[in-house]
Each structure stands twice: as structure tokens, then as C-alpha cells.
């Protein structure tokens, strides 16, 4: 071990275990806390105890009984999925061209998408607000899907073009020599190899869209298109005087579940996807 120095193997292992535990605690405590809050009863919510003293599903029952949350969840899922599909399709096309074809303006395209990746989204909020109002897109699904696609595209293009560069394209020739038509070469050889990259990109883009808050609160005004992150900040309890902590926590847990599932099942892919573009610098 070059950095940590050498010690007896047993001690080394114990030390790594300790370090690992610190990392796990670091990463999980805020998640566990919101989970814990979501299971607290209304009376024990303010007990400042990390773990619930009494457990209840009431908060979850409550949020799934409000149309406000259900509608927001539907908006979140619908908008994120549609934006992801479109961004990945457009991104795949552009990334293929960048990775495989020679054309003037390639550098420009890469440069522009880099610019957008670093763009302060808030700079777009005011003009988009005004434009969408006049176009009738304000507070609609397309009104959020469009900016999501735009800001997801650079991410998609980078990740995918990095993946596409890794594909051994000689296989396409090999398939042709083996008697495949161009369509067969694509379907039976290239597509299966490209699929993991496309899938990974889709996960990253989905996480991005699922996460957004700024556009979601700026470009919506009603439950018609308000996504869960935005809805959370407008959550009030069922009555005016009720503390919304429990319900907010339950809703927060619900929208965290897909993220946790992605991370658990696709850890390797997400790491590969996030780092693929960066290594080349």
C-alpha cells in the first residue's frame, strides 16, 4: 500500500474496516435520519431522538391519500422518463457522430455542449419563464422536459461518446466479413455492445432530471406539472396548524427509493459513466 504505509496485515485490515465504517456512516446518516423521521408518530416527531420511539406508517398513508403528492409523483416520473428517453436518443445520435465520424464543427459541438454543462441554470430561469409564458408552455410537462433535455444532453453526449470510443469497431467489419448485412452487423454486434453505455447514460440522465429543483419551482405554478422536489417545498400538513415534517419526510423517502435502487444495482455502471468523460481530460 503505497500511501498508507505497511503494517501487519491484521492491523491493516482492522484499520481499513474502521475507515470504511466512517465512510458508511458519513454517507448514510442523513438518509437514515429522514427515514427515521418518516416513521415517527406525530407526537414523537419533536423528540429530537435519532431513532423513532414509536413506529408508524401513518405518514406514508397520509401522503398517498393526498392528490397533491400523487400528482407530483406522476409528474416527476412522467417528466423524468420522457426527458431521459429524448435526451438519450438525441445524445446517442450526436455521440455516435462525435466518436465515429469526421466532420467539420465537431470541436464546436463538443465545446458548446461543454459550455452548457457548466452553464448557470439560473441564468435561464428568467428568460425561459417569460418565453414559456408567451408560448403557453409555462406550468406544463413540455415546459420542464425541454430544459431538462437541454441540460442532460451534454452529460449524455460526453458519457456516450466516451463509451462509443471504447467499442471495438473492427467488429463491424468482422461481422460484414462473416456475412452480415449492415443492419445485421448493427443489430447483432454493435447494438449489444453499445447497450450498456446507453443504459448507464439513461440512469445518469434520469438521476439528473429526477433531482432538479430550480426549474421545477420556477417554471411551474400549480400541481399540473410540479414535480416532487418542488412540491415538497410547498407541502403543508393536512391542516394549517399541523407540522408537515412527517409527511415531507415520507415523501422524501419515496422519491429516494429509485435512487437507492439504481445505486445498489448499477453501482459499477454509474461509476464508469461518471468517470468515463473525465479520464480523457
Amino acid at each position: 500500500m503505497a500511501v498508507i504505509g505497511t503494517k501487519a496485515p491484521g492491523g491493516l485490515k482492522a484499520r481499513w474496516t474502521l475507515i470504511d465504517i466512517i465512510v458508511v456512516v458519513y454517507a448514510l446518516v442523513p438518509v437514515l435520519w429522514i427515514l427515521s423521521l418518516s416513521f415517527k408518530t406525530k407526537d414523537t416527531l419533536a423528540d429530537r431522538n435519532f431513532f423513532p420511539r414509536e413506529w408508524t406508517w401513518q405518514n406514508y398513508i397520509d401522503i398517498f391519500n393526498t392528490s397533491e403528492f400523487l400528482r407530483a409523483l406522476l409528474n416527476s416520473i412522467g417528466i423524468a422518463v420522457i426527458a431521459t428517453v429524448i435526451a438519450v436518443v438525441l445524445g446517442t445520435m450526436a455521440a455516435y457522430a462525435i466518436a465515429r465520424l469526421d466532420f467539420p464543427g465537431k470541436r464546436l459541438l463538443v465545446g458548446v455542449s461543454l459550455l452548457i454543462a457548466m452553464f448557470p441554470q439560473v441564468s435561464l430561469v428568467t428568460p425561459l419563464f417569460e418565453m414559456e409564458r408567451s408560448l403557453g408552455l409555462f406550468d406544463t410537462w413540455p415546459g420542464l422536459i425541454l430544459p431538462y433535455i437541454t441540460f442532460a444532453l451534454p452529460l449524455a453526449i460526453y458519457t456516450l461518446s466516451a463509451f462509443f470510443r471504447e467499442i471495438p469497431w473492427e467488429l463491424e467489419k468482422a461481422a460484414k466479413m462473416d456475412g452480415a448485412t449492415p443492419a445485421q452487423a448493427f443489430r447483432r454486434v454493435i447494438a449489444p455492445l453499445a447497450a450498456p453505455g446507453v443504459f448507464t447514460t439513461a440512469i445518469l440522465v434520469f438521476i439528473f432530471c429526477w433531482n432538479d429543483f430550480l426549474f421545477a419551482i420556477s417554471l411551474t405554478s400549480t400541481t399540473a406539472s410540479r414535480t416532487v422536489p418542488a412540491a415538497l417545498s410547498f407541502f403543508q400538513g393536512s391542516s394549517r396548524f399541523e407540522d408537515p415534517t412527517g409527511t415531507v419526510s415520507a415523501a422524501a423517502v419515496v422519491i429516494t427509493i429509485p435512487i437507492i435502487l439504481f445505486v445498489l444495482f448499477f453501482q459499477r455502471r454509474i461509476v464508469a459513466g461518471l468517470t468515463s468523460g473525465a479520464v480523457k481530460g
Binding site: P168, E170, L171, K173, A174, A175, K176, M177, D178, G179, A180, T181, Q184, R188, V189, P192, L193
Partner: protein
């Protein structure tokens, strides 16, 4: 099985670059032909044009007498082995080898039989269900061969199929490729940059340079009768020694000394209209330690004395390297050869001479040695265009 004919085949890229120029090769049915040359000589482009992976700009490609310029690769019934092997990483060895048959809609039972037959020939039977990622380099290479042979194509095209293997395995696979080709009797075009591979494998060798065919012939004829400086320098290892020479009154003035031309050489040089300034070529094996020869033999040739720079003892014989004073031979071909072999060891004054001596030679590094050479074995070249002046057809 098929006869492949390249008739003035030319490849010009859209930006005007000429990759391959008017290549004429007639490859007989069942023949094993090697395309050899330094990188960028057009050998792979030529192979890709036969494969149909690149368009032919001009000229005609005929397989079994039929023009196939416009046919897609899949309709040419040719199999190809790639340098990287190009195995499909998401398919098992079995699926890789079955892929061309499945595309050709061969029924399942036949596919199974053919794949297993090929696996048996190539000793891959126990690896059939593994993925290429879990195979060694040699095994991957054999899978690539297997994928080519299962469908019993008209011809095999091989693009440097052995260059990703380590040296020992390469020699081993070289033999098996040659055996396999003889056994199957399938017309084969093989591309390599390695002249040893070219010499040992092919029935005929095509030497290419800068998109032009330099010479076509059997390995032995290329070695003994190189058509120009480039072929002379490219074929043979260690390569031929090149020295500047001046021809006057039937005598050759060289850094190795002055000596008369032998009758054979003089006749050839006269026929070829040799100029005064020449490049002389002499292969390492045409030298010998003068101390090992009797006077009669010695008198038949020339001698020179120089200090041994480097001595490599191979057991069966010894390679002694000398530096001889005087000008160095220069020509475009020689520069390209030097660049190709990566040798920058151009000595400041004088040229390097490599000699192969008998194991009995008493040569020692640093001490002077008198070396005999056979003047009847010299090659003479025109430094202007590199053509040979001692070519006996």
C-alpha cells in the same frame, strides 16, 4: 476455393491521397500469397479491397473470373482474420464461430457439427462455452481462425493475424497456420509487415511500398534476385549490406577495397547499362573469416581488414559487425528501410557491415580481423531509382 485476380486495382481517397496504385496480382486456386511491406505501403488497403471493406477506385477485382468490385463483403464468400481477432465479446466461443453460419441460415445441427469440427482441428473443444475475454492470446487467435474456417469460404484473408502474439507463440502459430492452409487447400491472402513471416509462410510473396508492388515471387527468388534496393534491404535478416561503389574499367571501387567484377556480374551490369556511381549490396553470409580459408579460395574473392565492433555468437555461427571508412550509400529506399527498422545507428563516418562468419572464427571484439567476401554474390543497384543492375531473368 477460388482464383483471385487483381487487375490494375487502385485506391485513391477522396482527399486525393493514393493508397494503392495499379496492383496486378493473379492468385491461383489454393495458393498462399503474402502481402508484405512497411506500414503505410498499402498492403492492408489492398486486403480490405479484396474483402470489400473498402471500395476499389479503379481497376477490377475478379474472383473465379467474376467481377466483384460492387459486391458487399457478405456476398463475396470470403472469410477474414483480423489483427485484433475482432471476436464478439458478448458471445461465447461457440457463438462466435457459429455466427457466420447462423447468418447464412444454416440449420442448427449442421452448425453444431461444423463448429465442433473446427474446434477439434484448432484444439478449442474445451473452451467452446467460454467468453473471448477469458481466453489467452493464442486461444483467441485460434477462435478467430475457427470463425473463418467453419463456413468453408472461397478464400481466407488474414490481416497480421499473429502480430499480437508473443514471439514464441508467433513462431508456433506460424507453423499451424501454414499446416492448416495446406490441409484445407483454401486460397489465402496474408498481410504482414514481418519479412520472416512472409518468407516462411507463403508460396509467393508480394512486396509493396508506397502503394506500388515492388516485386512478386517465391520467397527464395525474392531473396536471391531482388528487383530493387528496397526488396533487397527488406527481405533477409540481418539485412543486406549496402555500400557506395564506383565502376571503372571493369573494376569496382568500394569501401571494402577495389576488385574486378566477375564475368557473371560484368555481363549483367553491361546489359543493364550500369552507370558509374553505384550501390553495391552483399548479404552477410557471403563473408567469411579469411583465416579459415585456404589460399585458393581466398584468391577467388576480395578481403578487407577492420576492427570488430560487435560480435554476436549464435552458436551455429557468429555475426561480426564492422565499420568501414568512406562514404555511406544513400538513396530514398535505404532511408525508408532505416526508418522502418528504427535503426538510427548511422555511424558518423563510414558504413556498418554485418557479416556472418563460421562458428570456428576467432573474431574478438575490438581486435582487427581480415574478412573475405565473395565478389560473385554482389548485387549492384542504380542509386537514382534503386533498380537492380544484376538481375538475371
Amino acid at each position: 476455393m477460388a482464383e483471385i485476380v487483381l487487375d490494375k486495382v487502385t485506391k485513391r481517397y477522396p482527399d486525393g491521397a493514393l493508397a494503392v496504385s495499379e496492383v496486378d496480382i493473379r492468385i491461383a486456386d489454393g495458393e498462399f500469397v503474402i502481402l508484405v511491406g512497411p506500414s503505410g505501403c498499402g498492403k492492408s488497403t489492398t486486403l480490405n479491397m479484396i474483402a470489400g471493406l473498402e471500395d476499389i477506385t479503379e481497376g477490377e477485382l475478379r474472383i473465379d473470373g467474376e467481377r466483384v468490385n460492387e459486391r458487399a463483403p457478405k456476398d463475396r464468400d470470403i472469410a477474414m482474420v483480423f489483427q485484433s481477432y475482432a471476436l464478439y465479446p458478448h458471445m461465447s466461443v461457440r457463438e462466435n464461430m457459429a455466427f457466420p453460419l447462423r447468418l447464412a441460415k444454416v440449420d442448427k445441427e449442421t452448425v453444431r457439427q461444423k463448429v465442433e469440427e473446427a474446434a477439434r482441428i484448432l484444439d478449442l473443444t474445451q473452451h467452446l462455452d467460454r467468453k473471448p475475454g477469458n481466453l489467452s492470446g493464442g486461444q483467441r487467435q485460434r477462435v478467430a481462425m475457427g470463425r473463418a474456417i467453419v463456413r468453408d469460404p472461397k478464400a481466407f484473408l488474414m490481416d497480421e493475424p499473429l502480430s499480437n502474439l508473443d514471439a514464441k507463440l508467433r513462431v508456433q502459430m506460424r507453423t499451424s497456420v501454414a499446416k492448416l492452409q495446406k490441409r484445407l487447400g483454401t486460397t489465402t491472402v496474408y498481410v504482414t509487415h514481418d519479412q520472416t513471416e512472409a518468407m516462411t509462410l507463403g508460396d509467393r510473396v508480394v512486396v509493396m511500398r508506397g502503394g506500388l508492388v515492388q516485386q512478386i515471387g517465391s520467397p527464395q527468388s525474392l531473396y536471391e534476385q531482388p528487383a530493387n534496393l528496397f526488396v533487397a534491404g527488406f527481405i533477409g535478416s540481418p539485412s543486406m549490406n549496402f555500400l557506395p561503389a564506383t565502376l571503372a574499367d571493369g573494376h569496382l571501387h568500394t569501401p571494402l577495397g577495389d576488385f574486378p567484377l566477375t564475368d557473371r556480374v560484368r555481363r549483367l551490369a553491361e546489359t543493364a547499362n550500369a552507370p558509374r556511381e553505384l550501390i553495391m549490396g552483399l548479404r552477410p553470409e557471403h563473408f567469411e573469416d579469411a583465416g579459415l580459408l585456404d589460399d585458393a579460395e581466398k584468391a577467388r574473392g576480395g578481403t578487407f581488414t577492420a576492427s570488430v565492433d560487435v560480435l554476436e555468437s549464435m552458436g551455429s555461427d557468429k555475426y561480426a559487425y564492422f565499420t568501414v571508412e568512406g562514404e555511406t550509400a544513400t538513396s530514398a529506399e535505404l532511408e525508408e528501410l532505416a526508418a522502418e527498422s528504427g535503426s538510427t545507428e548511422m555511424t558518423d563516418n563510414g558504413s556498418q557491415v554485418v557479416t556472418r562468419l563460421s562458428a570456428a572464427s576467432g573474431a574478438r571484439i575490438g581486435s582487427d580481423l581480415t574478412v573475405w567476401f565473395d565478389p560473385d554474390k554482389i548485387h549492384l543497384f542504380d542509386p537514382q531509382d534503386g533498380r537492380t543492375l544484376t538481375y538475371s531473368s
